[in-house]
């Protein structure tokens, strides 16, 4: 079976302008949404407290919100997490609040009281044989009313540090990849690859801004992983361009690029398809914790194909990449196996 049965090279570069206008528009839209809507940063970045509780029945979000509101903790957010029984409560960071307040404990106490129960410390042993001590909220008859699944407190200083480290990681990745590509290929390729792939990064972030999805540390990791991954794509095509420059000496730059893209087409779609299968499996089975991580990867991989194939190659073409840039000392580096190389004297 073969999916791609292409008779002759597809003239992708003839449509370079249209493809890049589409790209540019998506990019501008992403920048616009990031600028106007901003990102919905997770507690890790902003600092604050997060409490996840589970009810045995579908949770009454209004009641939860009212209960926590009466504690006057500022601008709180209450939402379902994963299922209708799980509730996630976000409390903002407050300058004066120290961890000693045990905010999450207080919220849990209040929620428990609202259900008519009382919090006690429960010592138990898991089925596996591990000792566990946890606060448990039980009614007079002993039924579990609400379960504290997890809580998280992040001080504001940690948040800004993470944001700084994230920016630094992005910068180092970009510089590192550019240097490698410049060394391995040529500066025009390195600029083209980075422009194309940074545009992916901006578009992923743009999606997060538009839908106000939660931008967490895991999402940042996904974005950087995608950056490294889709540069791959450009590398594969650049490799092909270099090879085609060597092999088909009668073709001009545009034809060489078209040929390179066409001949790597099958591989591009199949690898991305495979990686996408894995990521979609994460999206389906990974649960709420991995949800946005998988979402970022999905968007990144889809846009990665587009931008690294069409955008990177087109930018390299406009930057004026030439045979001489890539094939140094043409006459000396002839491949003896090359069927199109012609006779060597």
């Amino acid at each position: 079976m073969e999916f791609f049965r292409i008779q002759r090279d597809i003239p992708f570069m003839r449509y370079a302008v249209i493809l890049n206008v589409i790209s540019a528009l998506t990019f501008l839209a992403a920048v616009f949404f990031i600028a106007t809507r901003g990102l919905h940063f997770s507690v890790e970045f902003t600092g604050g407290t997060l409490v996840e509780v589970a009810y045995p029945q579908a949770a009454d979000l209004g009641k939860v919100r009212d209960t926590v509101d009466t504690m006057k903790l500022g601008d709180i957010q209450v939402q379902n997490f994963g299922s209708s029984r799980d509730v996630l409560i976000r409390l903002p960071a407050r300058g004066d609040a120290k961890q000693a307040d045990a905010l999450s404990q207080r919220v849990f106490d209040a929620l428990c009281q609202a259900q008519g129960g009382k919090v006690t410390r429960k010592e138990m042993i898991s089925d596996k044989g591990e000792a566990i001590s946890k606060p448990s909220c039980a009614s007079a008859s002993g039924a579990e009313l609400v379960d504290l699944k997890r809580s998280e407190f992040v001080g504001p200083s940690v948040g800004s540090e993470l944001a700084r480290d994230g920016a630094l990681a992005l910068a180092v990745t970009v510089v590192g990849i550019m240097m490698y590509l410049a060394f391995r290929f040529e500066w025009k390729f390195s600029v083209a690859a980075i422009v194309a792939n940074l545009h992916d990064v901006i578009i992923i972030v743009g999606f997060f801004a538009f839908f106000q999805w939660e931008f967490s540390l895991a999402v940042l990791a996904a974005v950087l992983a995608v950056l490294g991954y889709s540069v791959n794509e450009s590398v594969v095509i650049f490799d092909r361009i270099r090879e085609s420059f060597r092999r088909y000496r009668k073709m001009n730059t545009r034809e060489v690029i078209d040929h390179a893209i066409t001949s790597t087409m099958s591989r591009t779609v199949i690898t991305h398809g495979s990686t996408l299968m894995m990521v979609v499996s994460m999206l389906i089975f990974g649960g709420p914790t991995l949800h946005y991580f998988a979402v970022a990867l999905t968007i990144g991989i889809l846009f990665g194909i587009y931008s690294s194939v069409f955008v990177a190659a087109a930018i390299a073409m406009w930057l004026g990449v030439k045979r001489e840039d890539l094939v140094k000392g043409i006459s000396k580096e002839l491949d003896p196996d090359d069927p199109n190389g012609g006779a060597v004297v």
Partner: protein, 632 residues
């Protein structure tokens, strides 16, 4: 052409066997166990405890899978949770003769069910992170400025006593921030003092500045000395935390330094942050008080009825002592406690350093109470114990206290450790706190594993379907990659977290790229009319350069995540980077090995099973023998 030399196959087989061996422990799951560790800073465990636990279990006719001493605890594994509970009760009853003041922590724990021979090969399962296990996590920031201030405070006292000893008159010693300032009226004294101070206190850097009619000599800590002070402050805090966490009876607490000024505390199995924080965040537990040496008090030792305003404490390993309620000093005033040696009496000593406030109080108290005894009481678990109760021989000024008499060197070591552990070297603040319920942890494992399994199956089915036998090789290479990755993670004893599992999934999704590249290249060579063996050979050769390039760019992103990431990102980055490295090996070397093994020996290979190789019309004429196979 497509044959590996013998050694290459040997390398592959060795990698496979090692991979299997180190992955294996992860598959056995965990069994209930009882862990015995020391509850007191001064109680060191050794392998004799393991024999004792075995004897105890035998006496109670409880059968354990094994009892062994490892690291600093004894672990005993049992078949089921009922036996585990019985064993815990039996051991704890026998070892802790005094239940209110236990010397050992006997805790329930889980250990790997993997057989002993694997453990003896150091093949251990991966350590599960808190998000998969459940527990509490604290990140604490040590206040480094306070540590330096405390040091400057101590130095001020040192300088004062040094100058007094040498009869050098100064016009005032003050602490300004982290600097110490000494004023002098005349230049000669200053010069003498400067010589003395630079000699005795090499950690300080001195500068002279005129200050009105006086001359000011200000000393600041040298950068390397400051760094030393700070790192010892963090280390002391870690020791203190260890002692405090022991109270919680957690089987495997993690207390580690993170970066320069942070400490991570992880307590698996604990969900009760309030109690954990209460214990971790406790302040000074050390008190210095005077003994009540009246006749009533002497009578109270035996009668048990203490006079008004006094309390009765037990001296460590000795008799009860009646102590006044009034507290002279607390642990807050104690800067350091070190074991030492008195050169005159040849006795082991404990040397205490007090801060300025403490020194002043101590000087007054000792002057008024020469010949009497004072007690240094350490409050552990809310219960006081007299560490030592020395006789005051003379007035003690300058904040340097030497306790001597009736001590062995080991006792001096223990005492100073106990005194140090009573207080924090610098205050700490919790800057991050996380609790994960055990059910959520188990849920996370299941979800992470499911993503990996279903993703893997989907890729495998597609590859086998699309590339036929080459797809099978690719799938085997991918499975080998997974095996190697898990084996390497287990060998490194890396902590597996949910982002780590996600990284495993992603690594597999990305690793298949290399095989697709190779398979597509081989097909292309076939399409261009190359013979089967040549197609395999050139396909692998040509794909390799591309695979290397593309993996390096991914690696750059991975390494920078590793360098700048913290917490969740780090867990992701480690697996991501390792995954790229193992995938290079498995996708290129291992899959080639399989192909060589299968096709390499066939001299007249007609075709390869790589799925249909379609030819554009332009190439139809160049059809070769590979057509035959490509239809299959």
């Amino acid at each position: 052409m497509n044959r590996y030399p013998f050694w290459k196959y040997a390398v592959l087989v060795v990698a496979l066997v090692v991979g299997l061996l180190y992955t294996l422990p992860n598959l056995f799951g965990e069994a209930p166990a009882v862990q015995v560790s020391s509850a007191k800073a001064t109680l060191k465990l050794d392998s004799s405890l393991s024999t004792r636990v075995s004897q105890l279990l035998a006496a109670a006719s409880i059968k354990a899978d094994f009892v062994q001493f490892e690291g600093n605890s004894v672990k005993a594994r049992f078949a089921d949770t009922d036996t585990q509970l019985k064993a815990k009760d039996a051991i704890s009853k026998a070892l802790n003769t005094e239940p209110t003041n236990p010397s050992y922590i006997v805790a329930l724990n889980l250990v790997s069910r993997s057989p002993q021979w694997l453990t003896s090969l150091h093949a251990l399962p991966m350590y599960l992170g808190l998000d998969l296990r459940g527990g509490v996590h604290f990140l604490m920031q040590v206040d480094m400025k306070a540590a330096l201030t405390k040091k400057a405070e101590a130095l001020t006292g040192d300088i004062r006593s040094l100058l007094r000893d040498k009869n050098l008159r100064h016009a005032g010693i003050t602490r300004d921030g982290n600097n110490v300032e000494v004023r002098f009226r005349d230049r000669e004294t200053l010069a003498a003092a400067r010589n003395l101070l630079s000699d005795q206190l090499p950690d300080l850097l001195w500068t002279e500045t005129p200050d009105g009619t006086d001359i000011k000599l200000s000393g600041s800590l040298k950068p390397e000395a400051a760094a030393r002070v700070q790192s010892s402050a963090v280390n002391q805090n870690i020791t203190t935390l260890h002692n405090r966490v022991n109270e919680l009876g957690v089987a495997e607490p993690v207390i580690q330094k993170q970066g320069l000024d942070r400490v991570v505390v992880q307590l698996p199995g604990v969900q009760d942050t309030a109690k954990a924080k209460d214990i971790i965040g406790r302040t000074a537990t050390l008190e210095v008080r005077l003994l009540d040496e009246s006749t009533e008090a002497a009578a109270a030792v035996t009668s048990g009825v203490v006079p008004f305003g006094t309390e009765r404490f037990d001296e460590r390993g000795g008799l009860p002592i009646i102590v006044k309620r009034q507290v002279i000093l607390t642990g807050e005033n104690l800067i350091d406690a070190q074991p030492g040696f008195d050169s005159q009496t040849q006795e082991a000593t404990v040397n205490l350093t007090l801060d300025a406030k403490g020194s002043r109080i101590f000087k007054d108290v000792t002057r008024e109470n020469i010949g009497k005894r004072m007690a240094i009481i350490l409050f552990e678990k809310g219960k006081g114990e007299v560490v030592t109760a020395p006789v005051i021989r003379s007035e003690i000024g300058g904040g340097r206290v030497q306790i001597s008499g009736r001590m062995t060197t080991a006792e001096a070591n223990d005492t100073s450790l106990l005194l140090r552990s009573g207080s924090l070297a610098a205050p700490m603040e919790i800057i991050e706190e996380r609790t994960i319920g055990p059910s959520l942890g188990a849920d996370n494992i299941a979800k992470g594993m499911n993503s990996v399994i279903y993703g893997f199956v989907a890729i495998a089915v597609f590859m086998c379907f699309y590339y036929m036998l080459f797809g099978v090789f690719s799938t085997l290479a991918l499975a080998f990659n997974l095996l190697l990755l898990v084996a390497v993670l287990s060998m490194l004893q890396a902590t597996l977290t949910l982002p780590g599992i996600a990284a495993i999934a992603l690594a597999l999704g990305m690793a298949i790229d290399a095989n697709v590249l190779i398979n597509e290249r081989v097909r292309e060579e076939l399409r261009n009319g190359a013979s089967a063996q040549t197609a395999i050979h050139t396909g692998y050769e040509k794909a390799f350069a591309t695979i290397l390039d593309s993996n390096i760019t991914t690696l750059i992103a991975g390494v920078s995540l590793l360098a700048f990431g913290s917490g969740a990102v780090r867990g992701f980055a480690i697996v991501h980077v390792l995954g790229i490295l193992t995938s290079m090996f498995s996708a290129v070397v291992f899959s080639r090995g399989l192909v060589n093994l299968w096709y390499g020996s066939q001299k007249k290979l007609k075709g390869v099973s790589i799925g249909q190789v379609w030819r554009p019309d332009a190439l139809k004429g160049a059809a070769t023998a590979s057509d035959v196979a490509s239809k299959s």
